[in-house]
């Protein structure tokens, strides 16, 4: 299979459908994660950051202890997730947002990785060792970045078309 940015027929039907569905589902997930934080006046990234373990834990504590940094962290998370989500769902600039989204979930993974010996105060919603859903979602976003679909199914199609014209 060819990875061709401009070709409409680069993917076979089921390949295309599969990747578009993956993009839409991840977009939906991001969008709701973002909006649910936006509409909850009590949400803060502090609880998550405070429970951070491994290499980023001291950075996390620095962020939590500084109201300005914490405010920035809250803002970036709420709006970042929302915009990435909408972008993936609609297929608008979706290649870049896949990359940004991958950055988000990779950070979530690295701030609290499910490694042996790291104990978290909140129990996870599943059973993980090294690999968790964040890591998988990050990889899925990598796939979306590598196999872009916004220009085939999505608003990017209009931009791709006007460029080729």
């Amino acid at each position: 299979m060819k990875n061709n940015l401009s070709g409409n027929d680069a993917y076979a039907g089921s390949q295309l459908n599969g990747i578009v569905i993956l993009r839409v589902l991840i977009g939906w997930h991001f969008l709701y994660e973002g909006i649910s934080k936006l509409i909850n006046p009590y949400w803060s990234s502090a609880a998550y950051l405070l429970d951070s373990k491994w290499i980023f834990s001291s950075l996390a504590k620095t962020i939590v202890s500084n109201p300005t940094l914490l405010g920035i962290s809250d803002f970036v998370n709420m709006w970042g997730l929302t915009l990435v989500g909408a972008s993936l769902l609609l297929g608008l600039f979706s290649r870049y947002s896949a990359l940004v989204g991958m950055g988000f979930v990779l950070l979530y993974y690295l701030f609290a990785p499910p490694f042996l010996g790291l104990e978290y105060s909140k129990p996870g919603e599943g059973s993980y060792i090294i690999v968790n859903k964040n890591l998988i979602e990050a990889c899925a976003l990598w796939v979306l970045y590598s196999f872009p679909t916004g220009h085939v199914i999505g608003l990017d199609r209009f931009f791709a078309k006007s460029e080729s014209n």
Binding site: V20, V24, W28, L31, Y32, I35, I39, Y42, S44, A46, A47, L50, K61, T62, V64, S65, N66, A86, L89, L90, G91, S121, K122, V152, I153, G154, L155, R157, F158, K161
Partner: protein, 530 residues
């Protein structure tokens, strides 16, 4: 042919458009679901609360009153608690400010220094210090001149007095803080009132029942401004809880459960014996003057001087130290007053170190006219956070002690599965007994570094921090401020002598029950224990 071409072009364009907009309906579906969810949540919220909870704003911070009149204060008993109270007034030792400033550098989450430095300047001076232990008296003097404080350089250095009567004889002193062991409270506070000084007295109010009645009457006669040291009176969560109970969210309340859990030598009053404590540095004879049993100075005396809460000679153990706090909080929330009956049992089951106060102790208080029992249960050998529970026919309020959630002195209200008030809403699934119908967690967006088990205990009880205008403040500071503001304005402070008497009589009823092995009855007409 050209028509065919046109049609093909049109078809192409339509297909282009469809492909470009293919996921837009999914976005619409998302928005539809989001809107439905938000509407459901809003209906749920309005149905659950249905005008029951009127959101009052948090208590206002009274500003400017401190400017009206400068007050000179004296401290009698500059120990662990005394030094905290004096910090609440804006004076800390150099040793303390250095340590907490250092801690803040090491741990960014440690806000003690910041909380102290951003305290309001209460426009007062610490001009008299009285302590029977030289080391502590000198620390008090040090605190009076430390320039690291809210409001800058202090006006004057305090004078040390060896006996409290000398301090009371200083006419420049307007008000005194009494933070001695309990066996000295009544005498000092009464003498201070007679000398025209306003009094802030630590809890428990007195060591005995008779002293409590006598102190109450002297304060009333002299008309001084009296504040008992229950800083929980300043805690926003308690005011919120009061409001919710008044609005009937819990229904009829027949049982209240209060609990104390501690599990450390410090929490059991096995405090350090200061290495510099000896016959020369401690005025032991004055210390034990009002206590029933006398001991010669020696090892036993040192233990008794530094760990006085372990003996009935100087205090009332769990009763005056910890029940008093929980009782006063519930009295604040529910306006209970003095119970009709009290009984208690317990024993010395863990700390067999020569103490005579129980380390496991349970008390029940009956309010027949209110159809209510208050249960108090304490252990000094388990840290299990039980919290306090107010159990109503319609819902239960759980305060503090919640595991997880990170809730500091907040509370949750959960509906009862057999509630009458919520029957319909329970059946409709609008209210679920698994989830709280009301949650109060102040400063939930704020994080603090309260870590040690004992400070967490206090924080869960709301005794360390509360919030005003979104800023973290020490309720002890607010309580001192409330007292000083009341002196200036001539109003009654929040823990005045009347509610102080409720606390004292209730605690003494329970203590007497333990000591006498029988149920104690309060006779409000004769003001006597029967």
């Amino acid at each position: 042919m050209s028509e065919n071409n046109n049609q093909e072009n049109n078809n192409m364009e339509r297909r282009e458009l469809l492909k470009g907009l293919a996921t837009v309906p999914v976005f619409g579906l998302f928005l539809l679901n989001l809107w439905q969810k938000m509407r459901r949540d809003a209906i749920k919220k309005s149905n659950i609360l249905s005008n029951l909870v009127q959101e009052n704003s948090e208590p206002a911070v009274i500003k400017g009153l401190s400017d009206s009149r400068h007050l000179n204060i004296g401290i009698i008993g500059y120990g662990g608690r005394g030094s905290h109270l004096i910090r609440g007034a804006g004076f800390a030792t150099k040793g303390w400010t250095d340590t907490v400033a250092e801690n803040a550098k090491k741990n960014k989450l440690d806000k003690q220094f910041e909380t102290f430095m951003t305290q309001e300047d209460l426009n007062c001076s610490l001009i008299g210090v009285c302590d029977l232990f030289d080391v502590r008296a000198n620390q008090g003097l040090d605190a009076s001149i430390n320039e690291i404080r809210p409001g800058g350089k202090p006006r004057s250095m305090a004078t040390r007095y060896r006996h409290y009567t000398e301090l009371l004889a200083n006419d420049e002193i307007d008000a005194v803080i009494v933070a001695t062991p309990d066996h000295w409270h009544a005498r000092i506070a009464m003498d201070a009132a007679k000398a025209g000084k306003h009094v802030y007295c630590e809890k428990g109010l007195t060591r005995t029942f008779d002293e409590a009645i006598a102190l109450h009457d002297i304060v009333k006669e002299t008309g001084i401004t009296f504040q008992l040291g229950h800083q929980n009176r300043q805690v926003e969560a308690n005011e919120k809880a009061k409001q919710i109970i008044r609005q009937g969210l819990l229904g009829k309340i027949n049982l209240v459960e209060l609990a104390t859990n501690r599990n450390s030598p410090w929490g059991a009053w096995v405090w350090n014996i200061h290495p510099k404590g000896n016959a020369k540095t401690i005025d032991w004879d004055t210390f034990q003057e009002p206590s029933p049993n006398k001991f010669p100075f020696g090892e036993e005396a040192l233990k008794r001087f530094f760990r006085w809460r372990c003996w009935f000679d100087y205090g009332t153990g769990l009763s005056g130290d910890l029940l008093s706090h929980d009782f006063d909080a519930i009295n604040q929330i529910m306006d209970l007053g003095i119970p009709k009956y009290a009984s208690s049992t317990g024993g010395i089951y863990f700390y067999k170190d020569g103490r005579d106060v129980p380390d496991v102790w349970n008390a029940t208080f009956e309010y027949p006219d209110k159809d209510l029992t208050v249960l108090y249960s304490a252990t000094l050998s388990s840290n299990e956070p039980r919290g306090n529970r107010i159990m109503g026919h319609d819902a239960t309020m759980q305060m503090g002690g919640q595991s997880g959630g990170g809730s500091i002195h907040g509370f949750i209200v959960t509906a009862d599965s057999e509630s009458t008030q919520y029957k319909e809403r329970l059946e409709q699934g609008i209210i679920n007994t698994k989830y709280p119908i009301y949650t109060y967690s102040p400063g939930s967006k704020q994080i603090d570094g309260v870590t040690s088990a004992t400070s967490r205990y206090f924080a869960n009880k709301g005794l360390l921090y509360t919030y005003r205008e979104g800023k973290r403040v020490d309720p002890t500071h607010l309580h001192i401020k409330d007292w000083l503001d009341s002196i200036r304005s001539g109003s009654q402070p929040k823990c005045n002598i009347d509610v102080a008497l409720h606390e004292a009589v209730t605690c003494h009823m329970a203590t007497e029950s333990y000591l006498q092995g029988r149920r104690i009855e309060w006779d409000p007409k004769k003001r006597a224990l029967v």
